[in-house]
């Protein structure tokens, strides 16, 4: 279980900061304005 702390835009990336049950932070980055690049998986 992860709880969203904040969502921010970093250039062409969107950063979603979440907090895990054990208190650790995790930062998900995804590309904005372009199709997701799946060329390497």
């Amino acid at each position: 279980m992860e709880e969203i702390v904040s969502v921010d835009r970093i250039g062409n990336l969107e950063r979603t900061k979440k907090r895990k049950d054990d208190g650790r932070y995790v930062y998900y980055y995804r590309r904005m304005n372009k199709e997701k690049d799946n060329s390497d998986g």
Partner: protein
């Protein structure tokens, strides 16, 4: 037990973190870094950074197990250790990652640096990657790491001291001078574009050591200007692809180490952002061990001349699918 212990002889902090003894080592059944397994509950991801389950440094550390007596000093291991996953794909090698994703990875490194530099307990941020079992990698999934230290580590401090002395003597940057010497010679330059240059330095001490510098003088990754992120991504990819093409082996082991100015509030006009790459693989069937002279005395003995290493890397076929 996890704490910082001061070495009064070498005047440096060591980290004790004994729970790291229990880390999984190259698990064969499932990878904890793959999506949906352990660390990342989501089914897919682009790029992720998360705080290490087995950290050497913690945001909320426990109190030390021994008393601080001013000579044998001890402190909580306050800091942050993050793991950066480059891709959800377990099998892809970093050298094969698409250059567009690599540019985004550069921006993620920059964002993590900027974000953590705002923490008052952080003095120095070290971004790095260990790759290959010879280096001591415990998980094969393509990933790097980040340590946000509550002190300036010894090698960084030694480098800063040297750079400051040169700056005070000459008013110029010692790293700019190294870059100029290498470009003037050209003998050890293995890759170059308008913004960055990669070379085996005159003073290389580890197998296939390569330094990657921006031609413009700036102190950390957040100062990259338009076009330089792409150059940095291309430079890293080119070095890794040359590494993969050096020998007929499954995976070339290496360390990629970012060198940046501290974030302790000081002024470091003499520091020049750069990356260093090192290996322990000195031949297809030979490893360089840090033995008595290196470990005991800190003097490195290289059985490969920097010029030969540069020639090998220049002639290596860049092994990449992109």
């Amino acid at each position: 037990m996890a704490e910082l212990r001061w070495n009064p002889i070498l005047e440096e902090w060591n980290i004790v973190a004994d729970e790291r003894q229990d880390r999984p080592v190259l698990p064969e059944d499932s990878c904890p870094l793959c999506p949906g397994v352990l660390e990342i509950p989501e089914k897919d991801f682009y790029i992720v950074s998360f705080e290490n389950r087995f950290p050497s440094l913690r945001r909320e550390p426990e109190e030390p197990t021994v008393a601080d007596d001013q000579f044998y000093r001890v402190k909580p291991n306050k800091g942050v250790c993050e793991v950066l996953l480059y891709t959800a794909s377990h099998e892809v090698k970093p050298a094969d990652i698409d250059v567009n994703r690599f540019v985004d990875l550069v921006y993620v490194w920059s964002d993590r640096f900027e974000d953590l530099s705002e923490e008052e307990f952080v003095d120095y941020i070290y971004i790095f990657e260990n790759r290959g079992k010879e280096i001591g990698v415990t998980l094969a999934h393509p990933h790097g790491q980040l340590y946000a230290f509550p002190f300036i580590p010894p090698k960084a401090q030694q480098t800063l001291n040297s750079a400051r002395r040169h700056y005070e003597r000459s008013g110029s940057c010692i790293f700019c001078r190294v870059v100029q010497k290498e470009r003037d010679s050209g003998k050890r330059v293995i890759w170059e574009d308008d913004n960055f240059v990669a070379f085996v330095p005159f003073f290389a001490r580890l197998p296939y050591e390569v330094h990657l510098y921006p031609k413009r003088h700036f102190s950390d990754i957040t100062k990259l200007q338009k076009g330089e992120a792409l150059s940095l991504a291309r430079g890293i990819k080119s070095i890794l692809a040359k590494y993969e093409g050096l020998f007929d082996i499954e995976e070339f082991p290496y360390i990629m180490a970012f060198h940046q100015a501290p974030v302790d509030g000081g002024d470091y006009p003499y520091f020049h952002f750069h990356l260093e790459f090192y290996s322990l693989r000195r031949a297809e069937d030979k490893i360089k061990y840090r033995a008595g002279v290196e470990t005991g005395m800190g003097t490195f003995i290289s059985s490969l001349s920097p010029e030969k290493m540069a020639r090998d890397l220049m002639s290596a076929k860049e092994s990449t699918s992109h």
